[in-house]
């Protein structure tokens, strides 16, 4: 039975869906890019507000599929804030091109709805539903500009996401065959922690492969550079942030049932994935001339980093992972957002050459981009630094020395290409001086806000750390 309380808890999701419908009806009357973008922004803002209004009612399960607690609320807020930032940045981006722009906002709302469902899901059905809602909308978003590269990227994402969904479904089926239930923790706590049966192990293994695709971990990362490059910059930002945060939230909820003690097969497998991601991601990023490709490989490495506190486990590990994801979300939104602000739908400015001497032409934008890259490199007074400290700290507590060694090695390799970008930004302008595009006030405002949040996280991380620690159910 649904009660009024349940509906209040579902209100953020309902609002997202409602505004998608309102925007669609608006299009039926008259096409207006401004109107649909406004609808999307309202949807995101109201959904965030509705989520926080429901705080006194938490925690509470709804229909056995979803479980609303402070963790779900925090992750949903991050996802929706990312969605809001993407929708604001994409407005000017889309205006700088031909074709219709209205459906973009609707797809963005639906993708965010899927991600929000993931953050609250405690049941394989909800997990799959959320994931498909997210993924199917992303097909459309990636191919939205209808240029060659984005068609290719959309197609690649379609095929590989379908494969990963198949892995995921088969894994779920195997786990269901063993446990007889489609719900995940806390219902599965009765499982013997130390020995998983081969069937269960195979099931979880397949699910990790499926999740690995979404998180772009090595060796499931092959789609990442092409999709990051081909997708329009705001969508790349969404894939890098909201989509990954949502899937990682599910992974964190699943963690208690994976029995990840050192020595267990899943622990060994995930450690291997983490080490490979950290090293391969950073090494492959070294020679990239395309900023979006570079950031794609960098994101592989960063998700490898987040696995370190995840494997460390405990509330310290989980809070470090969540803090890292939040800092990474802010940073990635800033980095891809800058690319989007400087680009248009027709053509992304994603070659390293485009950024040569940016500091002397557009100091403000260059400053944002440099700080974002410094944050990715983990330099102090940025959020990326504090996040890395929290992450290494969790690893040290759990004595994961091998993973930490890979992390240090990966970080040093990573410095090379982050420095390449910063060097390009601050080098004298090249012979070909491209005229700057007309900058949008909205996009610049979002970038300034992201910069402020990032520095705030780096200087005074206390409040957010407390919030994260208070919202962990595990």
């Amino acid at each position: 039975m649904m009660t009024g309380t349940d509906l209040i808890l579902l209100l953020p999701s309902l609002l997202l869906a409602a505004f998608a419908v309102i925007a669609m009806l608006g299009i039926a009357v008259r096409r207006s890019h401004g109107w649909t973008a406004f609808c999307a922004a309202c949807g995101f803002l109201l959904a965030i507000a509705a989520g926080w209004r429901s705080l006194p009612l938490l925690p509470r399960p709804v229909t056995g599929l979803l479980f609303f607690d402070r963790f779900a609320l925090l992750m949903t807020t991050v996802i929706l804030a990312a969605g809001l930032a993407v929708s604001l940045i994409s407005h000017a981006y889309l205006s700088r091109g031909e074709g219709r722009n209205e459906e973009f906002s609707i797809l963005l709302l639906i993708a965010s709805l899927g991600a929000a469902v993931l953050a609250a899901s405690v049941h394989f059905a909800a997990f799959f539903l959320g994931l498909e809602l997210l993924t199917v909308s992303l097909y459309g978003l990636i191919a939205y500009p209808r240029r060659g590269r984005s068609y290719e990227a959309g197609m690649k994402y379609l095929i590989l996401a379908a494969v990963s969904s198949a892995f995921l479904l088969f894994g779920m089926a195997l786990v269901y065959a063993e446990t007889g239930s489609l719900a995940f923790p806390p219902n599965m706590h009765h499982l013997p922690a130390e020995v998983h049966s081969p069937l269960l192990l195979a099931g979880f293994g397949l699910m990790i492969a499926g999740v690995g695709f979404k998180l772009a971990l090595v060796p499931f990362h092959l789609w990442t550079p092409d999709v990051y490059e081909g997708a329009p910059a705001p969508v790349t930002a969404f894939i890098a942030t909201a989509s990954k945060t949502a899937v990682f939230a599910v992974l964190l909820r699943l963690a208690p049932s994976l029995s990840l003690q050192p020595g267990s097969p899943l622990f060994a497998g995930l450690s291997l994935i983490a080490v490979l991601s950290m090293l391969a991601g950073n090494l492959l990023a070294l020679r990239q001339e395309n900023v979006k490709r570079m950031l794609a490989y960098s994101s592989i490495a960063h998700l490898g980093y987040v696995l370190v506190p995840f494997l460390a486990g405990g509330s310290a590990g989980a809070s470090a992972a969540v803090f890292y994801l939040i800092a990474y979300t802010v940073t990635s939104l800033g980095a891809f957002g800058t690319v989007a602000v400087l680009s248009g739908k027709g053509q992304d400015r994603d070659s390293l050459e485009d950024y040569r001497g940016l500091a002397w032409r557009q100091p403000g934008t260059a400053a944002v981009l440099s700080v974002m890259f410094l944050s990715l490199a983990g330099m102090p007074v940025t959020g990326g630094f504090m996040a890395k400290v929290a992450l290494v700290s969790a690893g040290v507590h759990a004595s994961l020395w091998l993973l930490l060694a890979a992390l240090v090695a990966g970080s040093v390799i990573g410095l090379f290409y982050y420095l390449r970008m910063i060097t390009a930004i601050f080098s004298p302008p090249g012979a070909v001086i491209r005229l700057p595009v007309q900058l949008s006030l909205l996009g610049n405002g979002v970038l300034a806000l992201l910069l402020f949040v990032l520095l705030w996280l780096g200087l005074l991380p206390g409040p957010l750390l407390r919030l994260v620690q208070a919202s962990l159910p595990f």
Partner: protein, 492 residues
């Protein structure tokens, strides 16, 4: 609060210099000078303060920063910090003055970087919270990278990468060590803290202690530099603009030495004692290697860079000698090297400004062309070779005499470094200032340049004749260092 203001003044003046310097270049120069002058006045007021009885700390400040993680804004100054902070401000002033004409592009951003490096260095010398220390340690990196990368010479990009990667790799190992230390302390006492005084009481097992100590040592050894980790230094020094070289040689290398004296030895006394013979051997190797390679250079700036490797070997030797005399000598060497090498880099910079080359084969006979420049050059070459009367002599003598009981063999070998120093220094004098004139004309120093170099010359002579100026305020800190059982067992 004075300690906090010392750091904040350049931190605020940096953006101001950038913002106001967009229209008028000299405005950002004057803002930088003003900020450093304010810091100078603040430091002078600290010199007047005597440490509280029973403690070596002259001033201390504790503020909360991130209480959840046990991170505090804990600043403190004792004799050691005070001496190095003063050196920072003096060399900071010198580097602003010496780039007055050299830097003509993006002047505002240049001074922004300069002031932020100085702020980071001041923070390093004053932090007593290990986390805060690490933040400042990293903070000085990025502006230094920009300084080399934007205003450097021909191979500036490669040099700046190398500098950044070496220091950052060492820094990450130190971060691991800091977090491990805090983690062990938390397991022992249940308190998560990064405070120096509390972490000092942590008891680690011998093996763990050595590993954690090596993490710190890696970061400081790269900065110092200790010989196998020194390869970034000649490139970075050679390619950096004059002010960058002055700060690199005069101050950044000192942060490594300071880290050894402030953190490695007091935090890990037993592990340091076990490691001391190896450190002494590395020091002797560095002293000889730096001197020999310096002798083989054609590029004057590269030569001076290699002499730094040699001179900083004495600091390493003294730091791990376990006697107050040797450790005071090490600090003296830091100051003396900071001034004399900084001055030599300024002279090289002035020559390059005038000749557009650093190649010694194309120099010669400058004594007749530019007597003031040459005379001052001679003074600093003599200081660098350790002539009695200069601070360098006092420093090297104290280090060698103080280390002799603990590291007899290493000291015997290192003493040869003094001879080699005379060889390379006199070669510079002979090549550059004597002989027949290699160029038709060379403008002599103007008033600003004379002022900077003359002040540095007076300083190094004064300290050579009155070493008590530094050794006296230093003694409580150094006595505390060696009396706490640190390494004292080494002296039979």
């Amino acid at each position: 609060m004075i300690l906090l203001w010392l750091i904040i003044v350049p931190l605020i003046a940096g953006p101001a210099a950038w913002a106001f310097g967009r229209g008028a270049n000299s405005l950002s120069r004057w803002i930088s000078l003003l900020a450093l002058a304010v810091d100078g006045v603040l430091v002078l007021s600290l010199w007047q303060t005597a440490p509280a009885p029973g403690s070596s700390w002259i001033a201390e400040l504790r503020l909360a920063w991130i209480p959840q993680l046990g991170i505090g804004l804990h600043l403190a100054a004792d004799g050691l910090s005070l001496v190095l902070v003063s050196l920072t401000i003096v060399l900071g002033l010198a580097s602003v003055l010496c780039s007055w004409k050299e830097i003509g592009e993006r002047v505002g951003f240049f001074h922004f970087n300069l002031l932020w490096i100085l702020s980071g260095i001041l923070g390093v010398f004053l932090s007593l919270d290990l986390f805060l220390f690490y933040v400042f340690w990293e903070l000085m990196l990025i502006p230094m990278y920009f300084l080399i990368n934007i205003w450097g010479h021909e191979n500036r990009v490669a040099a700046s990468y190398k500098f950044f990667l070496f220091t950052q790799a060492g820094g990450l190992l130190m971060l691991l060590s800091i977090l491990s230390l805090a983690s062990v302390h938390q397991a022992e006492t249940g308190i998560l803290t990064f405070d120096y005084a509390l972490l000092k009481t942590t008891s680690l097992g011998p093996a763990a202690s050595l590993l954690v100590m090596l993490g710190f040592f890696a970061a400081f050894a790269v900065k110092l530099p200790v010989v196998p980790f020194h390869t970034w230094l000649p490139d970075a020094h050679t390619e950096a603009p004059t002010a960058g070289s002055v700060i690199l040689a005069g101050l950044l290398l000192k942060t490594g030495a300071y880290g050894l004296l402030r953190f490695v030895i007091p935090l890990f006394p037993a592990a340091s004692a076990a490691f001391a013979p190896a450190a002494a051997a590395l020091a002797a190797l560095g002293i000889l290697y730096g001197a020999v390679v310096a002798f083989g250079q054609r590029d004057l700036k590269r030569l001076v860079a290699y002499t730094s490797v040699s001179h900083m070997g004495f600091v390493l030797l003294g730091a791990f000698a376990g006697s107050a005399a040797a450790q005071s000598g090490a600090v003296m060497q830091m100051v003396a090297h900071g001034i004399s090498t900084g001055a030599l880099f300024i002279i090289v910079g002035l020559l390059q400004e005038r000749l557009h080359t650093r190649d010694m084969e194309r120099m010669g006979g400058f004594w007749s062309l530019a007597p003031r420049l040459s005379a001052l050059g001679l003074v600093f070459c003599l200081a660098s070779l350790g002539l009695p009367g200069f601070a360098n002599f006092v420093a090297e003598f104290l280090v060698l005499a103080g280390s002799f009981p603990a590291h007899t063999a290493a000291v015997s070998v290192s003493a040869a470094g003094l001879v080699l120093a005379a060889v390379y220094s006199l070669r510079v004098v002979q090549r550059v200032f004597h002989g027949t004139a290699a160029v038709p004309m060379l403008p002599d120093l103007d008033a600003r340049e004379t002022l900077v170099l003359a002040l540095l010359a007076v300083a190094i002579l004064w300290l050579g004749l009155q070493p008590g100026l530094i050794l006296h305020p230093l003694s409580p800190a150094m006595d505390g260092l060696s009396a706490s059982g640190v390494l004292a067992g080494l002296i039979k």
